[in-house]
């Protein structure tokens, strides 16, 4: 029953996204623009750009995640739609997991294009496709879980568009560090053990999933 509710909420958010085309028309161009601008800024110093590719990629993902989470939050705050979820009696944990899953899928779709972007724009080469894919998957789950949780926390705040990045970016700092190190290894730009950093990302994701599943009900009621 819980899984059915998770799928129901995720499918609803993805259908809304498909209709509104926010990811395709706004989030994706924004992500590519950030990559292009980073490229302009550092292209004159090619070794620096090569060494910073992983970090630039994940900084761009952080920016994109803010937009995706804001969109996900606004779906429920517009016209009191959140009330419908409460009245329907959907388990808050299922709402959280469904919304986080929808955000994660959107971010993963954007990251696929962004990986293509760093290969074309930064002339990056991939040495370990397995590590790169695993990093994207694990880091994105953590970003989506933390983002969805904080999105619910600021849902009732009048200036949530500006409050969310202030809260979310520091929380995502471990993801930025871990995913960048793992990407450095996957791209072969820095000699580190990327798989070890993946453990940090997995821990971050697990903590935020558990925290979100436990706390989302309270946030749904109070905000």
């Amino acid at each position: 029953m819980m899984l059915a509710d998770v799928l129901l909420v995720a499918a609803k958010d993805l259908r809304i996204e498909w209709r509104s085309r926010v990811t395709v028309s706004q989030v994706l161009p924004f992500a590519l623009l950030v990559l292009v601008l980073f490229g302009f800024a550092l292209d004159a110093n090619r070794p620096v750009l090569d060494a910073a590719t992983g970090g630039l990629f994940w900084v761009a993902v952080m920016f994109v995640s803010i937009v995706a989470v804001q969109r996900s939050t606004s779906i429920e705050t517009t016209d009191g739609a959140r009330r419908a979820l409460l009245l329907a009696g959907v388990e808050p944990a299922a709402v959280f997991l469904g919304k986080a899953a929808a955000v994660a899928l959107q971010l993963l779709a954007v990251e696929v294009v962004m990986v293509g972007g760093v290969i074309v724009l930064y002339d990056a080469s991939i040495e370990s496709i397995g590590l790169l894919v695993a990093t994207c998957l694990v880091a994105t789950v953590g970003i989506a879980a933390a983002g969805t949780l904080l999105g619910a926390l600021v849902a009732g705040v009048r200036a949530r568009e500006t409050v969310l990045p202030i809260l979310l970016l520091p929380v995502l700092a471990p993801v930025l560090i871990g995913a960048t190190r793992a990407f450095d290894d996957a791209l072969g730009t820095v000699a580190v053990d990327g798989w070890a950093w993946l453990g940090l990302l997995a821990g971050f994701g697990a903590i935020n999933i558990v925290l979100g599943a436990l706390a989302y009900g309270v946030l749904l009621e109070e905000t």
């Binding site: 509710d5 129901l8 609803k12 259908r15 809304i16 209709r19 509104s20 779906i75 517009t78 016209d79 009191g80 739609a81 959140r82 009330r83 419908a84 979820l85 409460l86 009245l87 329907a88 009696g89 959907v90 009621e221």
Partner: protein, 217 residues
């Protein structure tokens, strides 16, 4: 059987006591008109009965469930039409109602009859809710209440924004719900119209019930 039972109920909006000690008992099958000036606490009373607000002090039972400890169970059994329509703009009328039915564990087969009943079936069912007029959105929201077949209907200004045929439709829904044994609490500023529907009228002012008249209809 008491469907609504409130004793010295206090509910806060922020720090403001929107309900300041309400005593109310509503029996099965009653149609209660909740009237009062703006800001009196009518909407808060309906939201409290829907299990959407926390009871700060006092006690209460809705449909036999305790308002302090069993709000999720209350929410699953009531139908609330609030000021906002709680619809997703980017989904069609049908998609909104089907999502609502599935989430509420209600037969999705109830969606088509509800859309027809509210006059949103033929031309509107595949249109995004964001493209509808305020009155049409209100009809879709009412269809959502109908889909659930609740035992307790909580209608906050149900006639607001509707054309004459829509207002007649609301009246018909209330009459049919009461005939089917449901209990209805509705707030309205259209006192003349709703007095014909109601079996009882309560007046709310300053967060308390200041008047209670039976057999008004």
């Amino acid at each position: 059987m008491s469907i609504v039972r409130l004793h010295a109920a206090v509910a806060l909006i922020g720090r403001f006591p929107a309900l300041a000690g309400v005593d109310l008992q509503v029996s099965s099958g009653e149609v209660v008109l909740v009237q009062g000036p703006n800001g009196a606490g009518k909407s808060t009373l309906l939201r409290l009965c829907a299990g959407l607000m926390r009871l700060e002090s006092g006690s209460g039972e809705i449909l036999g469930h305790d308002l302090m400890t069993e709000r999720p169970a209350i929410r699953r059994q009531v139908g609330l039409l609030g000021h906002d329509t709680a619809l997703y703009d980017d989904l069609s009328v049908r998609e909104n109602l089907e999502f609502w039915a599935r989430a509420s564990r209600v037969d999705v087969g109830a969606v088509d009859p509800a859309m027809e009943r509210l006059g949103v079936a033929e031309r509107l069912h595949d249109i995004s809710v964001g493209q509808l007029s305020a009155g049409q959105r209100r009809r879709v929201a009412l269809a959502g209440v109908v889909v659930r077949r609740p035992q307790l209907w909580l209608l906050d200004e149900p006639h607001a924004g509707l054309d004459p045929s829509g207002r007649d439709l609301v009246d018909r829904l209330v009459i049919d719900a009461a005939a089917a044994g449901a209990t209805v609490l509705l707030s309205s500023h259209e006192v003349d119209r709703t007095l014909d529907l109601a079996t009882r009228r309560i007046t709310v002012a300053g967060g308390t019930i200041t008047g209670d008249v039976d057999d008004v209809g």
